[in-house]
């Protein structure tokens, strides 16, 4: 058993991959709580697609792809905040417009690149086992930064999410905080891209948080449970990917989904089985 656990760690790419999977799993799970509670699941997906032009431009200029992705994600996040400010457009409408436009721009730019490079497919599908130690440092620092801000601004984020009217009476700069939250989500999405790729980022944000929601009655508990689910999924998913020789990002997301399903069925009070049992008693 121990051998089974230790064997993969003999490879340095697996060590780096595991570390990246843990950081990304926890980060996505924590910020994902706000994504779930504020109903922004669509946003995570959109941001992931919207980074494509940034990546393409960075590639064309020969720059760092991650930096390109970050810049694009922040621009799109602030764009969404701008178009939906004070209810001019609904947030999901603003997201729909920006997401499709940015994706189209990305596809256009990429189609000008004659040699469709391996690096770009990594952004699309993720490659956690190809994480370099430089990438890992960047992931770690961004992760600590984002989590630090979430902890530091816990009360303001709680109030703007739960009760915007109270936020106004207490004179919180709600628009600024909302944009900051969008930027934090954007940073998280970019960090998660190298693990699971564009298509699966939304799952990393939403699934652990949704599962944790069913188990908790307070936000700090929800965040802690969500982080634990994210970490376990990253760890287990990567081992499954190692031994079953399947795509790592997909394995992580599937473990996440399996945990969610278990909790959805068996959670005390809110689980499906629990509710059926209670209805029968009546």
């Amino acid at each position: 058993m121990l051998d089974w656990l230790l064997a993969p760690l003999a490879y340095s790419f697996m060590q780096r991959g595991l570390l990246a999977a843990l950081i990304v799993g926890v980060l996505c799970a924590v910020i994902g709580c706000y994504v779930v509670l504020r109903g922004m699941a669509f946003l995570g997906d959109a941001l992931a697609h919207a980074i494509l032009p940034g990546v393409a431009i960075a590639y064309l200029l020969g720059g760092n792809l991650l930096v390109g992705a970050l810049a694009a994600a922040v621009v799109v996040a602030l764009g969404i905040g701008f178009f939906s400010r004070q209810g001019t457009l609904k947030e999901d409408t603003a997201i729909g417009i920006l997401f499709a436009s940015a994706l189209a721009l990305g596809v256009t730019l990429i189609s000008t690149i004659k040699t469709y490079a391996v690096d770009l497919t990594h952004i699309l599908f993720g490659n956690i086992l190809g994480v370099s130690s430089g990438d890992l440092w960047m992931t770690g620092l961004l992760g600590i930064g984002v989590l630090g801000v979430v902890v530091w601004l816990y009360k303001p984020f709680l109030v703007i999410s739960f009760d915007p009217v109270l936020a106004a009476t207490l004179r919180l700069p709600s628009e600024l905080l909302r944009n900051l939250m969008l930027v934090l989500i954007a940073l998280t999405v970019v960090v998660a891209l190298q693990t699971v790729g564009v298509g699966l980022v939304a799952a990393m944000l939403v699934t652990p948080a949704a599962a944790a929601y069913l188990l908790s009655r307070r936000l700090p508990t929800m965040m802690a449970i969500s982080a634990a689910i994210g970490a376990v999924s990253g760890f287990v998913g990567l081992y499954i990917s190692f031994y079953a020789n399947v795509a790592s990002g997909a394995a992580i997301v599937l473990v996440n989904a399996a945990i969610f399903l278990l909790i959805f069925l068996f959670a005390p009070r809110r689980g499906l089985v629990w509710q059926l049992a209670r209805d029968r008693k009546r």
């Binding site: 739960f162 009760d163 009476t169 207490l170 004179r171 307070r218 508990t221």
Partner: protein
């Protein structure tokens, strides 16, 4: 901080000068002017869509003022951080949010605690006291989604108490709650009067407005009348506010048909 505290010791005073507010790009309130003295109890009445909620949202700074100005303690809106408490309409709250009753009431202290400091013993004491006063101490650790409508209303009243406000705004506090909660709310208003808290509520219930409030503001996009209930709620002002939905009966009684709501005076 000390300077604004000095100002807050003055009696609560609320003045609106020629205030217009738009909502969703439409002018929802036009040139409203009135003054509320400290400790007064004011009911805002008017038909649906008259701008009652708009008025309250403008008072807390949630909607931008298009014209005119709002003064609290003689100073413009926004100079005071935490002297207005607002009890929102129940449907404005996301009841599925993972917070307990205690968490919600503690939010009322955030303005005083500061955003980055932990709650002090006094904050916890105020929260406990507010819960006790609303009779919901035993619910403190329950998630808000588990509560009945009346209990939910009490949670937000307790939060408003914990804010220790000078002005308390309540949007339709008597709509859709049980009789016991309505009585608790009214008792709370009496206690707050002793503390000289200025209270403004919006309501559909004209009888309640007449019997339990010092002043009534009759609103329909603009201010139709303001003063003592008996002066304000006359047959002519009511028909002005409610239009064709008012029926004046021979004895001088008035019946209003406002979206299935019958109020008799």
């Amino acid at each position: 901080m000390t300077r604004s505290n000095d100002v807050l010791l003055e009696p609560a005073r609320l003045e609106l000068e020629n205030v217009s507010v738009s909502y969703n790009g439409r002018l929802a309130l036009q040139e409203v002017s009135f003054q509320v003295l400290h400790g007064a109890r004011v009911a805002v009445v008017g038909p649906n869509g008259a701008g009652k909620s708009t008025l309250f949202k403008a008072l807390v700074g949630l909607l931008p003022i298009r014209q005119g100005r709002i003064l609290i303690h003689g100073r413009p809106l926004g100079s005071h951080l935490d002297c207005v408490a607002y009890v929102p309409q129940r449907e404005d709250i996301d009841w599925r949010f993972p917070v307990t009753v205690q968490d919600v009431v503690m939010m009322g202290r955030f303005g005083k605690v500061g955003w980055f400091s932990p709650a002090t013993a006094r904050d916890r004491q105020v929260v406990e006291h507010s819960l006790a006063q609303m009779g919901i101490s035993d619910l403190a650790r329950r998630p808000i989604g588990d509560l009945s409508g009346g209990q939910q209303q009490r949670v937000f009243l307790a939060r408003a108490l914990a804010q220790e406000p000078h002005i308390l705004l309540m949007d339709e506090p008597f709509t859709g709650v049980d009789v016991a909660t309505q009585e608790t709310t009214l008792e709370l208003l009496d206690q707050l009067r002793d503390r000289q808290v200025t209270i403004m509520i919006s309501t559909h219930d004209l009888r309640l407005a007449t019997e339990r409030f010092d002043q009534v503001i009759l609103l329909n996009r603009r201010m139709i009348a303001y003063g003592k209930p008996a002066e304000v709620l006359s047959a002519s002002t009511l028909s002005e506010a409610f239009g064709g939905r008012v029926l004046v009966l021979p004895q001088g009684d008035v019946a209003i048909d406002d979206c299935c709501q019958q109020d008799h005076l």
